[in-house]
């Protein structure tokens, strides 16, 4: 049974003359415990797919089935417990006037947990921060530490699916390595399913086993990471992407 299955998804913004089709007829499926990457350049619609799943892009059509629920206009509370998102820029996704403790305890109490104290310590431990970080504010943390807090917040309701929107692109390479290792460990420890967006093919190749390449709102090719590594692609755009990333890498 697939944890995420999306069929013929269309997402658009604006009406009539100003309508922009951000995603056109996308199909993809991720098995339980799998990790799937979406790559493509900015404006290709990869982040929009994640936002549509989370209910952040209200105008869409098609079938989406995530975590055993068929998605409609409204998301249920149990959906938000099962599916969580980590955003690109930890400088923007954490409230500057909320301490780490507030960020995590708000999420926990919203989802009706009662042993908040012990859970916060456990969460901070899971993301490798430790209890000394609990009462800090975002400006007292480095970029990598902030992204760890954002990941801890996403893990708080014990989700089954994590949607990762460029989780390391705002970080230095040495910090990126730490976060990528952390994501790998967490997936194994909590048997999570990942759907990850990135423009960096090497990062996707490290985390994911399958990849969909997007261009101008359409999924142009789906391939395994092994195929990607050995340049077994059929679509010229995938080839172009691979070549530019191998040249720069």
């Amino acid at each position: 049974m697939n944890e995420i299955s999306i069929e013929n998804l269309n997402v658009w913004f604006g009406e009539h003359d100003e309508r922009v089709d951000a995603v056109k007829g996308a199909n993809l499926s991720v098995p339980k415990g799998g990790s799937f990457g979406l790559v493509g350049e900015s404006g290709s619609g990869k982040s929009t797919i994640l936002r549509a799943i989370m209910g952040l892009a209200p105008t869409w059509s098609g079938q989406m089935n995530v975590g055993g629920e068929t998605l409609g206009d409204k998301r249920t509370r149990s959906f938000y417990r099962k599916v969580q998102m980590v955003f690109q820029d930890p400088y923007a996704s954490l409230h500057p006037r909320h301490s780490v403790d507030q960020v995590l305890s708000e999420t926990l109490s919203l989802h009706g947990f009662d042993d908040i104290e012990t859970r916060i310590d456990k969460l901070l431990d899971d993301v490798g921060l430790g209890p000394s970080f609990r009462f800090r504010y975002p400006h007292q943390l480095s970029g990598g530490q902030r992204q760890r807090v954002a990941i801890a917040r996403a893990l708080a309701p014990e989700p089954e699916v994590l949607l990762l929107d460029e989780p390391t692109s705002a970080l230095d390479v040495s910090v990126q390595a730490e976060i990528l290792n952390l994501l790998t460990d967490l997936r194994a420890a909590h048997s999570l399913t990942y759907l990850m967006v990135s423009h960096d093919l090497a990062v996707v190749g490290h985390i994911c086993s399958d990849v969909a390449v997007m261009q101008l709102g359409e999924v142009v090719e789906k391939l395994t990471v092994e195929d990607m590594r050995s340049m077994r692609t059929r679509h010229p755009y995938t080839k172009h992407l691979l070549e530019s990333s191998l040249m720069a890498g």
Binding site: E41, A177, L180, A202, H206, R229, S244, S245, M247, G249
Partner: protein, 283 residues
């Protein structure tokens, strides 16, 4: 070989409430007609070095150097007014994100013409002709149309090419590119770099390429400085990057995921506090 730029013992210091913070701590380097890469993580002082050369550090920040010469002529002793003739005309700076470095309420063509007319005494029509020629040189199709566009109407890659056109039109001797492509997509990145490379070569300019991307710098530059905590820890010719000796450089290289060499776990950089206290390497 005569150097375009000679820098000796350059410091950038910021007084703060808790004492003086040294962003750049006594670095030495020279630049000829070559492509010099400066790599480091955020906070290593690489961008500050680029800005210090143009004396763009705002007070209370301070730039201190024993020597900072442009073709043998001192830069440190110049007045602010004299510096304005250096900026753009002799040394130009391309910044990270074209969205923030282009004036949003001015047509891009007018911005390029303005840059040209500031440093050359020419008529408006001549400046326009030259600007369109320059837009063509940075591989913009239909330059006449783009000339009349506003920055919000162009894409990121196009915006950065417009910046390159604007920075090259006064024909400077040195170009400093501070993360010129990190706001761009991989597929556009290479195109912009190739254009920059071609123009820099044709004009015999010196290029300082500041980036956090070690691999990009190694494919694109002749020589690389690796900065850590305000000092230069290692200098290498770009093709020998993978023979790096310093543990910091090695750590950076190993922490990158690689498409052609998959690993289960990425190596995490272990920082040695001693690195910050080692003397700076001259380059």
């Amino acid at each position: 070989m005569s150097n375009l730029l000679d820098v000796e013992n350059l410091w950038v210091r910021f007084p703060t409430r808790s004492g003086v913070f040294d962003a750049v701590r006594g670095i030495n380097f020279t630049l000829g007609q070559e492509r010099l890469g400066i790599v480091g993580e955020s906070g290593s002082g690489k961008s500050m070095t680029g800005r210090a050369i143009l004396r763009l550090i705002r007070s209370p920040g301070m730039v201190i150097a024993d020597k900072m010469d442009l073709e043998g002529v001192d830069l440190m002793g110049r007045t602010e007014k004299e510096m304005r003739d250096v900026r753009g005309k002799e040394i130009s700076l391309i910044m990270q994100d074209p969205k923030f470095s282009l004036n949003p309420v001015m047509r891009v063509g007018h911005q390029i013409s303005e840059a040209y007319r500031l440093h050359a005494k020419v008529s408006k029509s001549e400046a326009k002709r030259k600007s369109i020629e320059m837009l063509e040189a940075v591989a913009i199709r239909d330059p006449e149309r783009v000339y009349n566009m506003y920055p919000h109407e162009v894409s990121g890659g196009m915006g950065q090419r417009i910046m390159i056109a604007m920075m090259l039109i006064p024909n400077p001797k040195i170009m400093i590119a501070d993360e010129p492509t990190s706001a761009l997509d991989v597929s556009v990145q290479m195109q912009v770099l190739e254009i920059m490379d071609k123009l820099v070569k044709e004009r015999g300019m010196g290029l300082i390429f500041i980036s956090h991307d070690l691999n990009l710098v190694s494919t694109f530059c002749d020589r690389v400085l690796i900065m850590y905590a305000g000092r230069v820890v290692e200098t290498l010719s770009a093709d020998k990057l993978h023979e790096a000796q310093h543990p910091y450089t090695q750590g950076l290289l190993n922490s990158l995921p690689r498409l052609d060499a998959p690993k289960d776990r990425l190596q995490v950089l272990q920082r040695d506090p001693a690195w910050a206290n080692e003397p700076s390497v001259s380059a």
